[in-house]
Amino acid sequence: MNWMKYRWLYFLISLAVAGAGVFSMIKWGFRVGVDFTGGSVLEYRFDEKISEETAAAGIEKIGFRVTSVQKTGEETYLFKLAPIARADKDKITQLLPNSVGSSLNELRFENVGPSMGPELIKKTLYALIISAGAILLWVAYQFRSLKFGVSATIATLHDSLVLLGAFSLLGHFFGAEVDFLFVTAMLTILSFSVHDTIVVYDRIRESQKKFGSDMYFLANKATSETMVRSLNNSFTIIFMLIALILLGGSTTIWFAVALLVGTISGTYSSPFVAVSVLVTWDQIEQRLKKQV
């Protein structure tokens, strides 16, 4: 099949998806979690039926502003507040039963100081740069060509951008937060994306020995040969992730969503970004050679 004929379409799709994400990032930014901004998280399970509003109002009555409430289970709510001291938390736990009229169980208390955020962001950036650099070098070395390495890295950056954009949108419309786990998901997708790309590259390398060096032809052949495998592999991962999203509970739900978005984007980007860029690069190179 002549996959590479429609490269303009692939670039257009990528541009549209990434563009929507970038638009959202500029307009709405991210909903940043406690891990980065600092703040407190309190999770309680009430013994009586209580609405979200009553529960939040109960805490406000004690004198603390609640920034968000999330239902995490039956009569279980997760509250987010500005950073509070341990003594304040004890006060809330003690006074809340009276304030809402139900005994309760404290399930979780997290308090992150505001100074931790910038550190996490820096460490994450370092991890991202080192991983991307290592992958670039590994691919370039393995395929004896910088072209392959750079194209693969462009595809992984494409996936990172799609994921960031998706979470800006999900954050705006569904309250998804960018937190520590999101960062983990992003780094995982980095490796998944390149995993997929290498499989296609590998077929290009193999056919090169037999069928010469026409990159356009090789790319089409390799894409056809790996398409079913690529889809099937993604399906198995997607099955696991969907199970995790539906049944895994509130702590990991957005983490699983992030991995899902990344998996889909990673599957798409291997033939349609990495290989397409490779072919385009190769054509430009050939044309320049002819001119000289």
Binding site: R108, N111, G113, I135, S191, M240, L241, L247
Partner: protein, 436 residues
């Protein structure tokens, strides 16, 4: 070939045994899994096969303290933080927490001490105990008016040999009995001699806890602190005094406490999600590849059993992101098989059946190797085994990366070695008529 399959079978059986929960009930009878306990002469090998759970699953507290080193000269800061860490570890151990972890995390001039306390219920007490500087000092009191001025002596917490809870022989009230070092005892004798009929204040972290009046010179090298203590308070005071004073003040800047109930629920949910996901993957593989899919599924079960056994043997502390990493690696584990089976579809038309199988394994291996090394590189950076301070040294990222890396390595074994041998032995060519 059959030998290999037999070996795989034995390995799975062994791993399966290790993977069992502690108590198994079968047909109404209860069995206990016996832990490894080998004694061969001087050589002892003991290992308990229980899964190690992280704070988010077992419940517990993750505390981050900031060590304030501003007042300490730059070249001595490292030593001071190191000292603070050791003292905090001592305190935590004396407090009676099982398997605590106390680590230093330094980044851009900031020094943090990360304390992890699994299964702890009363975090408040632990935080108070750990964060106390516990600077003990004996001070002379100049004129006994309310505006008394305290003059610190050279007798401090450093002169203590031991502190323990003691009850007053007269009124039975709890107090703390102090035993000084030899040098400390001499200092104490000198101070008491000079201050007969005057009060001597015992000061902890700039707070006077008691100021008894000295009756006579005390030479025995022991002293009693009596105040308004409960037994519990007296016990905590002894922990602080015995572990010594922190060389730098510390402040709690981050806390994450998860109750045990939440952890249990998370585990149950994850197991359910894992089972459902696994079933879907299993069905999908059979639907796509027929009897090859069955082989892949058997490989997948072996993968699960081996992974669980290794988690227990290494041991890997399992966290919620860690479970996610494991589930993801299950999805990735099928990839080796899919690559091989797809390859086989191509090769089958070109050459005889058995050859096609071998060629598929050989050709697919290049892709499998190259692709998985890339994932391993990333998980290596995320795991950060060399504890590079500019990367994450603790937390969810690490837990996730460890299980992902382990999953990839095991999936290479099950996806390539295990399924290859199973295929060779169990799947026969049915496209050719059987020879008689």
């Amino acid at each position: 070939m059959r030998k290999k399959v037999f070996g795989i079978f034995l390995l799975t059986l062994l791993a399966g045994y290790i993977s069992l929960p502690k108590h198994v009930s079968l047909f109404g009878k209860k069995f206990d899994r016996i832990d490894l306990n080998l004694h061969l002469g001087k050589f002892t090998l003991e290992r308990n096969f229980d899964l190690k759970l992280g704070l988010d699953l077992a419940g517990g507290s993750h505390l981050v303290f900031d060590a304030d080193t501003d007042k300490i000269p730059a070249e001595k800061r490292k030593e001071a933080v190191e000292g603070a860490r050791n003292i905090i570890e001592k305190r935590v151990n004396l407090f009676g927490v099982s398997e605590p972890s106390v680590q230093i995390a330094s980044f851009e001039g900031k020094n943090r001490i990360v304390v992890e306390l699994p299964g702890i219920k009363n975090t408040k007490d632990a935080v108070n105990l750990i964060g106390k500087t516990a600077q003990l000092n004996f001070a002379k009191v100049q004129d006994a008016s309310p505006s008394a001025v305290l003059v610190p002596t050279d007798l401090t917490g450093a002169d203590l040999q031991n502190a323990k809870v003691a009850f007053d022989s007269k009124n039975g009230k709890p107090g703390v009995s102090l035993e000084f070092t030899k040098e400390g005892g001499e200092k104490f004798a000198k101070i008491t001699e000079e201050n007969i009929d005057k009060p001597l204040a015992i000061v902890l972290d700039n707070q006077v806890i008691s100021a008894p009046v000295v009756q006579e010179k005390i030479t025995g090298g022991t002293a009693q602190i009596t105040g308004n203590f409960t037994t519990d308070e007296a016990k905590k005071l002894t922990i602080e005094l015995n572990s010594g004073a922190l060389p730098v003040p510390v402040q709690l800047i981050e806390e994450r406490t998860v109750g045990a109930t939440l952890g249990t629920e998370s585990i149950q949910r994850s197991i359910k999600a894992g089972m459902v996901g696994l079933a879907m993957v299993g069905i999908f593989m059979i639907a796509s590849y027929g009897k090859f899919g069955i082989v892949a599924d058997v490989g997948l079960i072996i993968f699960g059993v081996l992974t669980l056994a290794l988690y227990k043997l290494i041991p890997v502390t399992l966290t919620l992101p860690g479970i996610a990493g494991f589930l993801l690696s299950v999805g990735m584990a099928t990839d080796s098989n899919i690559l091989i089976f797809e390859r086989f579809k191509e090769e089958r038309v070109k050459r005889p059946w058995a050859d096609a199988l071998e060629v598929s394994f050989g050709r697919a291996w290049d892709s499998i190797r190259d692709a998985n090394i890339a994932t391993l590189v990333t998980s290596f950076i995320l795991t950060n085994p060399l504890d590079w301070q500019f990367l994450h040294t603790s937390g969810p990222v690490r837990g996730f990366a460890i299980t992902l890396a382990l999953g990839i390595v095991i999936s290479l074994f099950t996806g390539v070695v295990v399924s290859r041998n199973l295929l060779r032995v169990f799947i026969k060519d049915d496209t050719q008529p059987k020879k008689i």
